[in-house]
């Protein structure tokens, strides 16, 4: 099975950090729907996560499927290692 490069772990953690901010802001905005600065922060982080997603996917393959990511040839979505294995 493929081994992941060291840079993968740092990039994945960066994505996890940005996504965590997005989770926190999501729950916050669910109860504070009119907090304009927080919505701005949310949209900035949403943009940043698109960039980081591409970085991680270049080393790891698609993070989501059902068409939320493009596929290489051959189909690489179902290739390991999986999150609990790395």
């Amino acid at each position: 099975m493929k081994q992941l490069p060291k840079e993968f772990y740092a990039a994945m953690e960066e994505l996890q950090a940005v996504d965590f901010v997005l989770v926190e802001l999501t729950l916050y905005l669910d109860t504070h729907p009119e907090d304009y600065p927080s919505i701005n922060q949310f949209n900035q982080f949403a943009k940043e996560r698109r960039r980081l997603k591409r970085v991680v996917e270049s080393m790891y393959g698609p993070l989501q499927q059902y068409g939320n990511s493009y596929s290489d040839y051959p189909w690489n979505w179902a290739e390991g290692p999986w999150p609990w294995q790395i």
Binding site: E13, A17, F20, V21, H32, S38
Partner: protein, 76 residues
């Protein structure tokens, strides 16, 4: 000790079978006190937030195991 602990002193009987733990503590997390979260509270950096489990400093309330306490307790 973190300000989110409260201590109480249970009755000690001369017939208690184990050596008494004289002070017992329990957790009173920040969500009990804040009310509706006000806007613009101070945030952690994204990486800090991920490590800790919250974006906002006001909610920081870590719990350490007795195995870790000697090294980490004073951080809170």
């Amino acid at each position: 000790m973190s300000s989110h602990r409260r201590v109480w002193y249970p009755y000690v009987s001369p017939f208690d079978p184990c050596p008494p733990i004289k002070a017992k503590a329990y957790s009173t997390p920040p969500s009990l006190f804040l009310g509706y979260q006000p806007p613009n509270l101070e945030q952690f950096t994204p990486m800090e937030a991920l490590k800790i489990g919250t974006l906002w400093k006001v909610f920081y309330d870590p719990w350490y195991s007795p195995y870790e306490v000697s090294t980490e307790e004073d951080q809170s």
